[in-house]
Every structure is written in C-alpha cells, then in structure tokens.
C-alpha cells in the first residue's frame, strides 16, 4: 500500500513550487470574484432593491440560471440571502471547472505526454502522482475557502454572519473538490486526456441542466444531484451543513474509486476502448474547408449552443422587466431612457453583452490556424498544391460564418424567448431584435480583422486580441453604471456603434468599421503570405 504512494510528498512539494503562480491566480482571482462583490450588492439592495430582486429571481428562467432560495417573502430577503442566491452556484461551477482542468492536466495529460514515465523511473510509487495532485487541490481549495470567508467577513455587513461566510467559502472549496474527484475518475476511465476533460466537463454541464429542471419543478429531487450540494447549503439563511457533508463523502468516494481504478490499469491505457475511426475518409473531409470544419466542429457547436442558451436566458427576463426596473435604482440608472420603452432599452444594452460573447468565436477560429501551424500539423500540407491563401481565406471564411451565425442565434433566441415571455404586451417584433443584433456585425468583423492582422504579422500576439475584447467588454458592461469619460469609452469598438432600437442606425459608422475590418483582413493576408511559417518554435 505504502509503496504505491512512495514519494508523493516530494512530488507534492515540487508541484507547489512549479504551480505557485497558477495557484495565486486561481486562489486570488476566484476568491475575489466570489467574495468581493458585497459592496456592489449593497448598492443593489438600497431602497426596494431587495424585494424587487427577490421577485425577479422567482422567475423560472432565473431559477434555472442561479437556483432557488429558501426565503419565502421579499421582506425576509436579506443582503446575505441575495448574495449566496446569486453568486454561490456560479462560483461553485467555476471552482469545479478549474479543478477539472488542473487535475486532468496533472494526471492524464502528463501521462499522455510521457512525463509520468520519466517520473516513475525514479523512486516514486505508481500512484504517487495522483495522490500528490489531489493533495495539491485540497491545499488550494482550503486556502480558497478561507480567503473567501475572510474577505466576506471583513466587509462587516450585518446579514453576512461569520458562520454563513465560512459555509459560503467551504461550499465553493468543496465544489472544487467535487470537480477534482469527478475528473480523477474520468482520467482513469477515458482513453486519452482530451476525453477525460471533455467527459468531466460534460458531466458537470449535464448536472447543471438537470438541476435547472428539478430546481423549478421539485427541489427535493435536486437533493440527489452532486452539483446541488454546493449551493443548497443556503449560507446566511438556513446555514445547512448537511449537503456539505454529502459532498465531502461523495468526493472521498470518487477519489477512492479513482485510486482503485488506477491501481488496476496500465499506464497510458483507459477502461473505455478508443472508438474506431474510419478506414477511408468521407468526401466531405477531403479539402481544406472540410478539414478545417472537422477540426473546429466541436468548439463551434459548443459556442453556438451556448449563444442559444444565453439568448434564451436573457429573453425570459423580459416578462418581469417592469417590476425589476422599478425596484432598483442602480439598474434603473443602467437602463433609464425616457424616450424608449424599458424593453427596448434593455435590448440595446444586453445586445452589447451578447455581441461581446459572440465575438469570441471568430477570434478562436482565426487563432486556430496559428495554433495548427505551431503544432506542425500542417507541415506536410504546405508541400501540397494548397496555397497559403487557401489556408488563410478558409479560416477567415469560417470565422465570418461563425460570427454571422452567432449573431443570428443569439439575437434570434433572445427575441423569440422575449416575445413569448412578454405575450401580448410585446412592442417589439423578431426583426427588431435581429436588427439590433446585426447592427453590431461590424464590431464582430473588427475583432476578426484584429485576429487576422495578428495572424499575418505578429502571430505571437494573437492572444492579445482576447485581452482587448475582454477590456472593451468590461468597459461596455460597466460603462452604464460608473460615470466613465467619453474618450475612455471610445477605446472600445462597440461604443462607436449606436444601440438599436434605442438610437438610430448609423450607416456611415456601419460601413466605416466594416471597411476598416476588411482592410485589416487584407493586410493580414499580405503578411501571412510572406512570413516564415513557425513550426513548434
């Protein structure tokens, strides 16, 4: 028994040393994200804010997104109750996902890369690596839980009790452990690391969707869903430690199961056999376009489905918009506009948020070409009749297609759900929503153009396009609440575009930004055609 884990402590210390930067970002980033919004929530809670928010969150769509609360009337809804209601599920999900990525990358991925083989040739037990990784995750999540609790307590808010704060932090830390347990089991079962990550995240996604259904129809049924144990602790209201205990036991069971599975399998192998591929390629694969569609299919479908879900989630809010806005000063300030209806105002604002998300996919697709180049996947293809222009324009075409489809799906489902939720009161038609969406097409093209420019001239900078997107997204998101100066807002490309249906369509701007974007794409092409291709450098 001891032999199997021999030397785990050496590995554990090695990992702490190797990962300390990643750990800092993980703990501080997620910790502050989970705990530091208390002052913002205090703003929201002013006046009738709490009971207004309470009403809003009774909307089934909102329950599907954030979960239920045990509080029964708006009057009893405290700041603490609202904070854990809105934040706990999402923060728990984040903690789970990061833990999954970390555990698989330290176990199965290293095994695939052959690193484990080297380590095992020293005096290190067969399962020491898994144990060291799990201990590292425990260590990280304990620190995370303590940081969250500490930060929350430090705000000194009445309704955020010390016990509640500890339960809140512990719930998020435990969510991380649940994710780690699931990931470690999948790492044993699946034949390769990508499958382990995918299946573990898939299980979490599935649990999330199942809990959305049971939360609305029957909360008791949700009690058998591991994901729920992370947020049904109801900190600051019921302070129920039972789900936490369940989650603890469940995580331990998963870890023990994973160790048993690992002990019985060969290194590099899984329990599920690799699915057989085709002996010959389908016709549809046999072109650059076919190949690029094939290798991007997974990411494209996942994002497009996400756009539909986000559109539907926001769309379902339209039914309760009136109550929501009247109850809340800060939100009123965000959406106030005397000339337009609240729905129109909301559409104009929410569209910016959705366009920010839609813009991610084209950047991913353009950057993919460099990723493929860098992994030397294309080396042998460079020597065929395929030209660089073909690689380039196929990527740009795919990205543009994804941008247009993304807008269509996001704006379309937003409109469809909104019109259904509003019923007869709806003053807006589906075309209004689509117009509001496609009004931002130049912004999406602009990000595509930036990514293309980077691809052609400075591929090492291609990740920086995400940074600019995140920056402009945040400017737009908070631009309404914080009083930011005009010039600062204008550094975000979306700020130049009027918000339909709130403001009038501006053809000049539409055309100008589109032309600039196309110019960037063409200039990027010139660079791509003449630069040295990088191969794993």
């Amino acid at each position: 028994m001891k032999e199997k884990f021999a030397g785990w402590n050496i590995l554990f210390l090695l990992y702490l040393k190797r990962d300390w930067k990643k750990m800092m970002i993980w703990i501080v980033g997620l910790g502050l994200f989970s705990a530091a919004y208390v002052p913002a929530f205090e703003e929201i809670a002013k006046g009738q804010g709490l009971s207004g928010m309470y009403e809003t969150l009774q909307n089934p769509a909102m329950i599907a997104m954030v979960g239920p609360t045990p509080v029964e009337t708006g009057a009893e809804y405290t700041l603490g109750a609202m904070y854990s209601h809105e934040m706990l599920l999402f923060c728990g999900l984040f903690a789970m996902v990061i833990a999954v990525l970390h555990v698989v990358s330290h176990t199965r991925k290293e095994e695939n890369l052959g690193l484990t083989e080297i380590i095992r040739s020293f005096q290190i037990g067969r399962q020491a690596n898994s144990l060291a990784t799990m201990m590292e995750v425990v260590f990280i999540n304990v620190l995370l839980a303590l940081l969250i609790s500490g930060v929350m307590i430090s705000f000194g808010v009445d309704t955020i009790s010390v016990e509640g704060a500890f339960l809140f932090g512990a719930s998020i830390g435990m969510a991380g452990m649940l994710g780690a347990g699931i990931a470690l089991v999948m790492a044993q079962i699946m034949p390769a690391s990508s499958g382990a990550t995918g299946s573990a995240l898939g299980i979490i996604g599935l649990l999330y969707i199942i809990r959305a259904g049971t939360d609305i129809s029957n909360v008791d049924l949700s009690m058998i869903n591991p994901l729920r144990w992370t947020y049904l602790t109801y900190p600051f209201t019921e302070n129920n430690w039972m789900p936490f205990i369940f989650a603890l036991i469940f995580s331990l069971v998963m870890v023990v199961l994973a160790f048993a599975l690992e002990g019985a399998r060969d290194m590099g192998a899984g329990y599920l056999p690799e699915r057989e591929g085709r002996e010959r390629a389908r016709k549809s694969l046999l072109s650059v376009r076919g190949l690029f569609i094939k290798i991007n299919k997974g990411v494209m479908i996942s994002w497009l489905v996400a756009f539909v879900m986000i559109g539907a989630a926001y769309g379902s809010i339209y039914g309760d918009m009136q109550t929501f806005l009247e109850s809340n000063e800060i939100v009123q300030q965000m959406f106030a506009n005397s000339e337009a209806s609240i729905e129109e105002s909301f559409t104009g604002t929410i569209m910016v948020v959705m366009i920010g998300l839609v813009s991610i996919l084209p950047i991913v697709l353009v950057n993919k070409l460099f990723a493929e180049e860098n992994r030397s996947h294309l080396s042998q293809l460079y020597a065929t009749r395929v030209t660089r222009s073909q690689f380039y324009w196929t990527s740009i075409g795919l990205a543009t297609f994804a941008g247009v489809t993304g807008i269509l799906l996001a704006a379309g489902t937003l409109g469809g759900t909104a019109i259904t939720a509003m019923g007869d009161q709806s003053a807006m038609g589906i075309l209004d929503f689509l117009a509001a969406g496609f009004n931002f097409l130049p912004a999406v093209l602009f990000f595509t153009g930036l990514a293309a420019l980077a691809l052609g001239w400075a591929p090492k900078l291609s990740k920086a396009v995400y940074v600019y997107l995140a920056y402009s997204f945040l400017l737009n998101y908070f631009g309404g609440i914080a009083d930011l100066p005009e010039w600062l807002l204008n550094t975000a490309i979306q700020s130049w575009i009027p918000r339909i249906p709130l403001e009038d369509f501006d053809l000049l701007i539409f055309v100008t930004i589109t032309v600039i974007s196309i110019a960037m794409i063409v200039i990027g092409h010139l660079g791509y055609n003449r630069r040295d291709l990088v191969e794993g450098a």
Partner: protein, 293 residues
C-alpha cells in the same frame, strides 16, 4: 543531366543566429542525394526553404528550374515531403489523414495506398491520438510514397521506425528510384544513406563541407591499414600520409591517406611485408571526420 534541385549560396538568419551561411548543392534527375550533418547543422532549415515554408535571405533555390518561393504552387504539384516528426490530428484516423494528404496532393494512387498500408502494417482505422511515434511516421510515409511525384523530400523519415519497417521503407525508396524519380534524403541513419544514396552532401554549421559520390568521398579520406613487416615496423610512423600510428610487436595499425598510398607501399616493401590488410572507410568514418573536424 538536368538539375531537379539547384541551390546556390543559400543563406538564412533567424534573429541574430545565422542558420545557413553558404549552402550550394544540386540534385540531378533520377538521383538520390543523401543530406547529412550533425544536429543543428541546418538540414531541416534548407529543406523548409525548398518547400516554401520559410523564406531565404539570400542565394538561389530552384526546383524543376522554378523559384521555390515564387512558384511554390507549381513545384508542389510534383513533389512529396515527409517531415521527421509527423504530427497528426488526434481525432482523425490514419486512413482519413492519408486520404486527405493524397487528395490535397492531387496525384494519389489508391492502389498503392492500400498496398503500402498492408506493407507497413498500419491499422488505418485507429485514431491518430492512439498511434505510437513510429506509426505516426508511417502515416506520413504512406501519404508521400503513394503520391506520384517527381521529387521526394525526406527529412529523417525513418525516425521512430523499427528496423523491419526501416528496411521496407528502403525497399520502397529503391522502387521509386528505379522508376527514375529524384530523392533528397536527410538522415542520421548512415547505413540507410549508404544503401540508397548516389551522392552525399555533408553540411556543418550552415555550410556544405563535402559533396560527391561515396566513392569520391572515400578517396578523400583514409583507409585503416594493418601491416606486419620483417624489419622494424616502427619506421613506418615517419612516412608521409601515415596517421594514428599504433604498434604491437611486429604489427602496426594506422590510417593511410589515399593521396600518399604509393609512398606508403614503397616504404613498406623496403621493410619486407609479411601481412597487409586495408579496410576502406565507412560512411561512419567519413562522417566522424567531418563532424568532429
């Protein structure tokens, strides 16, 4: 004889590092040229320039009489290439990837594809992420060998292959050679080069240090001679063209420079030869001299 590949004074610099200083060599029609040199000498860099993957800084590089950068598309219709480290898309099967390569090459031979898959014992249904290093390499080789080209460029094509598969690769290359195709073969496996190449080009630190047929190159170097004489064999140590002299009783072993072979034999016969053995240099010896020198 028409030149298929013609490189003159090729130079390439990465940042401050000059990877190619002066590379000049040719591959003639129907010829197999072995391209050898130590790690980091610039073999792959030169090949990437030939393929239009990177751009040269100076010099001339032509294939089929066309510029490798400007007319790459025309050239690519008639060449095949296998890199030393074939990387593949994990979720495609080997069979799918071979089909894709052949289709994009344009002159793939289905029958030869199936024949080579059998010959190399590749399981074409397996997803590429499940392939070992050697099996990935086979996918690249099959895709290149099953395409009908006029020039085949191999950059360490057999890295990771077991000796049996290596032998099969050599047989297949010989078939291509018999069909009159040209081949540029970079390899660290000298027996492979010795068996296949008509001519060898040796590169060191971005410069071509030697080129010629194996026979020609052998003349440039020394054979290992074992000599026993009636007189004092030690006198041989002073003869012109004798190197690395070692003596054991009446028998000596030394390297004999081919240029001075005549002197050496004359001196030896003065001492009364009892035993004379000469072993020609292997490519390995040639190599060591150039790599170290």
């Amino acid at each position: 004889m028409p030149e298929i590949v013609n490189i003159q004074g090729l130079q390439k610099t990465f940042g401050k590092f000059q990877a190619l200083r002066d590379v000049t060599f040719t591959v003639n029609a129907g010829e197999v040229v072995g391209f050898i040199g130590p790690n980091g000498a610039g073999k792959s860099t030169a090949i990437r320039i030939l393929l239009g993957i990177i751009k040269r800084d100076a010099g001339m590089a032509e294939i089929f009489g066309k510029d490798v950068w400007k007319d790459s598309l025309e050239i690519h219709k008639r060449i095949s290439y296998v890199p030393g480290d074939v990387t593949l898309w994990g979720n495609l099967s080997g069979g799918e990837i071979i089909d894709l390569f052949l289709k994009l090459h344009g002159r793939g031979d289905q029958q030869k594809r199936d024949y080579l898959i059998k010959r190399f014992e590749l399981d074409p249904k397996k997803k590429a992420k499940g392939y070992s290093k050697g099996n990935r390499q086979k996918v690249g080789l099959i895709a290149a060998l099953a395409a009908d080209s006029d020039l085949y460029i191999f950059d360490e094509p057999t890295s990771g292959l077991d000796p049996l598969m290596e032998a099969i690769f050599q047989e297949e290359v010989e078939k291509i050679k018999e069909a009159g195709k040209s081949i540029l073969l970079s390899s660290h496996i000298l027996s492979e080069v010795e068996r296949l190449a008509d001519r060898v080009v040796i590169i060191r630190q971005g410069e071509i240090v030697e080129t010629g047929s194996l026979d020609e190159l052998r003349h440039l170097t020394r054979s290992t001679v074992t000599l026993a004489t009636e007189g004092d064999v030690a006198e041989m140590a002073a003869v012109n063209g004798v190197f690395d002299f070692e003596q054991k009783d009446h028998q000596a072993t030394f390297s004999a420079d081919h240029k001075h072979l005549d002197d050496i034999l004359r001196e030896a016969s003065k001492l009364g030869v009892k035993k004379f053995e000469s072993v020609p240099p292997t490519l390995e010896d040639l190599f060591m001299r150039h790599y170290e020198g």
